[in-house]
Symmetry: C2
Subunit: 462 residues, 2 copies
């Protein structure tokens, strides 16, 4: 049966690419209020595509952007798979750095000569979702999926899955499953497929410093008043020590030490730091002292500024002391840090350190996510590794990731689900950046892996 | 004769206000390359207005924006006055904070119930220039100015008067005068007219930090790479010590100490720091320890961030490590600091302190200005004080200012001219800020002062 499924996938390659282009052309930027209609359009389109495969699908409301839920007829005794993905994308800015526009999906060769499709969301996560849609469609065309499936594709992953928890809690019965499959990560490198077993958590904050009630002439007032931009820099700079450690009292209190065995396993991956640095035009990588780059991204927390605004940003000079300055800051968390605790000590630290003649406001709430490490010593993971081997022609390695998929902690906690993190992306896919891409070879191997995965998981004892 | 001049001014009040509105409506923003046509239009309009008063006027080219030069027939034996002003204005941003649009001049009451005209450039410097144009026109209508006048109104004051030095050097003979008059400052407060005798200098820098060659996913790479926004904050924060002093080695080496006598004189002005703080919605003023607010703005150098850009600045969250981050920084200088020296040590400090895996670029050059203290123990200043008393009904106080008028150093140095800094603005005119205004009472008293000044200066022995 799998063989005919794979033949169908093979035959549908160019059609599937065209379908992916249609999916990518919808600017479903969840962060932007003025894109709400496009987000909804994307949900409607996707739900309709699931209907076409023969699944029952619906666009379901939340307090924010809708989720798409689709399912086949569940047959008693068969394993049930919950497939999670997201149809929303990151903002495409800065627009001028895109070679082709973010929402005009374009196939071309990457710097290394590999064919890829370029668009915002190409790999994160529309392309990976689409690999599964193709696999599902092929199984359905070949006579029907061998497992019970419930598909949950949300529209708020890039803004912290704010409303998903409430949705999961209200629809616990409907979402019950034996295992959860998520394709929103990547290979270790082009030659090494991977299964992820760890993700970092997240706290996202926006700090606004307000000084004088209006912008001031920097000559007339400079030296006499607190300058919010200078204050912001002092506050932000205070968040790290000279050795690259985060300087927030209590920040590392709950950080789990990685065992030497696990570190040794990571060393055997032969991560080439010099090659990564070169690919980013950096003379060398840097960060917290005493840890390798893999350790720093997989098992150490961070505090990074993601955006900063103050005063005049146009061409030339303006001699002004701006009334306000603000920074968007994200902290990636590792087991066993708690987002609420970290958020509280972050805010306390900023307030404690701020001069008493400026006002501090924090905006953006509920964008927190737990760090997770998932179990891999289970039959589902063994079956998943077999599927990856079939799809990519190589045994996968087991790695952690530096990113965050808020739903993993949620599903583990709320539904007691084991999550299989099987990703088809490449490290150089420019996720969240201009010229995001999805390698076409990975796209097709991803479809094959997904198809094989549903076959393998049908053998899961339930 | 002065009496009939003053009567003409009185009769022309509403006409002069309409004329000022026309002047203010031209968006002559010198910093913005796309406003070059408006800058030129403004120069042409102004030159034509001088022609209407009977002066010979011309728009003269420079390597940048043009200057307007006008003059009457110089009569041997009469004192010659060089009137300097500028017709360019600061960028109006942030636009959304203007109650009425920056280039739609509007008369309304200010927060304290005084009539004022609101527009970008209202007081800095178009309104003050226009007070002189009216005084000149009235004198011409009454039979002719009693002095030789050369008017020099430039279009690059707000971008550092970059090309004025070359123009002055090439036209030394034509610009020769006995005294220079500049109205680009203000009263000490509404009840206290003032003559300025000191201005701070300026160094303006833009620092660009470049890290990775493109924006990165903050999860995938966070912790492994230098984040340019964090690096920028560290560099900017390093520029001050905890006591508010600028932390650039050598920065204070050439700073002249203010004599106790001068400090005592400033104390007698009874500057109300609490009232200033209140007017800015600040609980208290702050800055370098050990100096009053007046001392800090008049006689101490600064290092203020005027603008800052990094990463995502739209609504909501984007988890990105931006490739670049930049800050516009201005340093106000005091006697005897040298702009070139300060610029050099600023750049060296930034380069010394930057991590070795980011690239630092400096942009915006030639925006430097010397700090100046002008002599006031001379007959011209005594005559000017009499004119201010006639115009405002009160003796002026002698003060310094915190701002910069690049031309003052230039004219002193190149032409050996004594500069009379007689300003008609108020401290709360929101210069360089949204809702810039010019008080109408100050506008009319400024016209009267200017008219009286030409009368008084005709008695200057030459």
């Amino acid at each position: 049966m799998l063989n005919s499924v794979l033949q169908i996938l093979e035959a549908r390659r160019s059609t599937s690419l065209e379908q992916l282009k249609t999916f990518l052309a919808i600017p479903s930027v969840s962060a932007k209020p003025d894109h709400a209609a496009a987000v909804r359009e994307c949900a409607n389109w996707l739900s309709n595509e699931f209907e076409k495969t023969g699944l029952k699908s619906a666009v379901r409301q939340t307090a924010g952007h809708p989720v798409v839920v689709a399912r086949n007829n569940h047959v008693a005794g068969r394993p049930t798979v919950l497939l999670y993905g997201h149809y929303d994308v990151q903002p495409p800015e800065p627009l001028d750095l895109w070679t082709t526009p973010a929402f005009v999906p374009t196939v071309r060769k990457d710097e290394n000569g590999f064919d890829a499709i370029y668009a915002r969301g190409a790999v994160d996560d529309k392309g990976q979702v689409w690999a599964h849609v193709e696999a599902i469609a092929a199984w359905q065309a070949a006579g029907g999926l061998p497992v019970n499936i419930t598909v949950l594709i949300e529209g708020e992953e890039e803004v912290g899955s704010e409303n998903l928890a409430a949705f999961v809690r209200s629809n616990r019965e409907e979402l019950k499953a034996d295992v959860c499959v998520i394709s929103d990560t990547g290979l270790f490198n082009r030659d090494t497929p991977a299964i992820d077993y760890g993700l970092r958590g997240l706290v996202y904050e926006e700090v606004v410093v307000t000084g004088p009630s209006h912008d001031l002439h920097s000559g007339q007032y400079g030296g006499a008043v607190p300058n919010p931009a200078n204050v912001l820099c002092q506050l932000m700079a205070s968040l790290h020590n000279a050795d690259g450690r985060v300087n927030i009292p209590g920040f590392y209190d709950d950080v789990q030490t990685v065992s030497q065995a696990e570190k040794d396993q990571w060393k055997r991956l032969n991560h080439d730091e010099a090659a990564v640095a070169k690919s980013l035009d950096l003379p060398f990588l840097s960060g917290e002292a005493g840890h390798s780059a893999l350790e720093r991204t997989w098992s150490r927390p961070t505090c990074d500024i993601n955006g900063m605004t103050a005063g005049y940003q146009g061409p030339g000079a303006k001699t002004v002391i701006a009334s306000k300055a603000s920074a968007k800051v994200s902290m990636r968390l590792v087991p066993n840090q708690n987002p609420a605790t970290v958020q509280a000590i972050f805010r306390k630290t900023i307030l404690d350190r701020a001069p008493k003649n400026v006002k501090i406001d924090f905006i953006i709430n509920d964008h927190n996510a737990d760090p997770v490490v998932v179990a891999i010593d289970n039959p589902a993971t063994t079956l998943a590794a077999e599927a990856v081997k079939l799809g990519f022609g190589k045994e996968p390695v087991f790695i952690r990731g530096g990113g965050t998929i808020p739903v993993v902690g949620l599903l583990t906690r709320e539904l007691g689900l084991a999550c299989l993190l099987i990703g088809f992306g490449l490290p150089d896919d420019r996720v969240h950046s201009p010229n995001e891409k999805f390698d076409l070879d990975c796209f097709y191997k991803g479809q094959k892996t997904a198809a094989a995965l549903y076959d393998k998981l049908s053998k899961l004892a339930v």
